[in-house]
Symmetry: C2
Subunit: 352 residues, 2 copies
């Protein structure tokens, strides 16, 4: 690997400067992306390996980021299980046959993601070739809870009322659903590693809707299982696992138990406070508010510097946003941010 | 006061059992409320003191809650400043002339809430009479940030992009707007106390959208100012102030500086962890996930008991939900919850 900063940081090894990539870095804020998007629907982009590869590479060519992340989405892997999914303009994803009963869960098919998500597996393979070891490639999956909540609600949600009602009222059905989704998550991540992914991230974007007690009881065991199964299959040199959620500032101390190598933090907590709770033997990824990239550059710089100061040159920090980069983000701020993270963190490390 | 448990707990004095009330306890989940709502629009209810009084008393008559909270809404006090507000069916509040420029802010009128929110002040007076000291009456206001975010976005928001953009890009305009809203908050709370409110709550429902650094710099000083002005005006026996926000698990240690007597916690953190960060000299209100009330009663009970166990009989705990009670919540669970909090906490206190 020509640039292995990201992988070294995942293993908490010394690095010359802090690696940086941005969640959803291949996205609408880039004119190169919008040009492709004009010709294809979103799902069509995800399902056409050559297009997914092209889009994955766009931020690598535009900025000095230290990792690529495969262009894909967390929901299409559910289709193989029997879920009907569309993306409605302005509304986001819609699941037309939400899963809400024991029968619905029983009807979900067991799948081999090598077949049912063959398009993303192929995109990983093509991207890995095209990258030619310039930077590592990150594969990813939704986490069991976040997949379950979409599957039950039928789309995005603000209150997660049906999800929690099922969890509280029919724990057996919940466990059955979570078990099936956990198998999907681990086998999908394994398939991406077989195709060349150098690390994987598990997105539990909505787990922060839960209380710590409910997270510990109904969600954490499945994250642990998915990561353990992944490690068992990928062996002693298992690629690093990043676990990411938002709104979880009150439960970072629980996240140590996930078994992840790196935990992603959103911006709702100071990075050093998060790290104290998570524990020193795990890396931390984050945690700039994506909204900050709309600010004048000196304000962006001030906040990025604060995060790097709080990381204080400790091994195991990967700079990222606290959530996906937003549409309409000014690209000039993105370019400057990536450069600044490298330069400023190198100074901290030189002085530390 | 016949039942002063709530006020004693606000002052961290000994109580026979833990006081309990529920945010938005006068609301749609009650058939008595829906019967009134059929005859009036929502704003009409807020603006008709006799109706607001009737609705405020409904949960007091139905359950053994230890405090009443005036039926009102955080946004109507903005109308006097020049904001045009409607509530659209299914959409929530819409502000038709959002405030986004220096000129918009300059045009906001200075108001005396005794005049511009006379209907709620009168409702406080009527309710206080009708309660005849059965339980204390809580007045409330939105917090400067939450009012600002509605005012700038023009309604609810998921990303608060315009609010943060203004804050980052035009800090002088931000300060001007927050200053005006801070005056509104303190004078409105003072007017409610003059009319008979025994305590006040400041709702900063959306402050958790911020990073701790941005909260400390752009929001906290105004909360401090509002509370300090309130105390200066209401004198040495100033009624207790509760400050409540959601998604703030990463910044409870900052909230000690608000000057509030009690901090409201949402359900995204264990109550004892929140209290450790907040500090022992401040009370804590919370923190059951409102979704839990849709669970079978034994599951509700188990989670309520866990919260009371974590409070451990310490003085200063007020039991509440972590956010407003949801529509369609089964009233039988509400009734049982209130009873259980009293009975179970009395046992803890007897054994402690």
């Amino acid at each position: 690997m020509l640039n292995d900063r990201f992988l070294r940081a995942c293993r908490r090894e010394a690095v010359d400067c802090t690696p940086v990539w941005l969640m959803r870095q291949a996205g609408r804020y880039m004119s190169e992306y919008r040009a492709v998007r004009e010709r294809y629907g979103f799902l069509q982009m995800v399902k056409t390996p050559e297009v997914a590869t092209e889009v994955t590479l766009q931020p690598i060519n535009a900025y000095d980021v230290d990792a690529a992340i495969i262009f894909a989405d967390i929901l299409p892997p559910l289709e193989g299980l029997g879920i009907t999914l569309t993306y409605e303009k302005g509304e986001g994803p819609v699941i037309h046959n939400p899963v809400r009963t024991a029968n619905d869960v029983a009807a979900l098919r067991e799948v081999d993601p090598r077949e049912t998500v063959a398009y993303t597996i192929e995109a990983v393979r093509l991207t890995k070739q095209a990258l030619a070891d310039r930077v590592p490639l990150i594969g990813f999956s939704g986490a069991p809870f976040t997949l379950a909540s979409y599957t039950i609600e039928g789309g995005g949600s603000r209150e997660y009322r049906r999800t929690k009602a099922l969890m509280y009222s029919e724990p057996e059905v919940w466990r059955e659903l979570m078990g099936k989704l956990t198998s999907l998550v681990s086998s999908y991540l394994i398939a991406q590693v077989e195709a060349g992914a150098d690390a994987v991230q598990i997105f539990d974007s909505w787990a922060g809707a839960l209380s710590p007690g409910d997270f510990a009881e109904y969600v954490l065991p499945y994250v642990q299982q998915a990561i353990a199964d992944f490690r068992a299959a990928t062996g002693p040199t298992a690629p690093p696992v990043i676990y990411f959620g938002t709104d979880m500032s009150g439960m970072y101390s629980l996240l140590h138990q996930t078994g992840a190598d790196v935990l992603g933090a959103d911006w709702r907590i100071y990075l050093d406070n998060a790290w104290e709770q998570i524990g020193p033997d795990i890396g931390v990824q984050g945690n700039l508010d994506p909204n900050v990239l709309f600010a004048p550059w000196p304000e962006v710089q001030r906040r990025a510097a604060d995060i790097l100061d709080r990381a204080g040159g400790r091994p195991g920090h990967i700079f990222n946003l606290g959530h996906g980069i937003m549409t309409e983000t000014p690209v000039e701020n993105v370019r400057q941010l990536v450069e600044f993270v490298h330069e400023y963190s190198a100074t901290i490390k030189a002085n530390g």
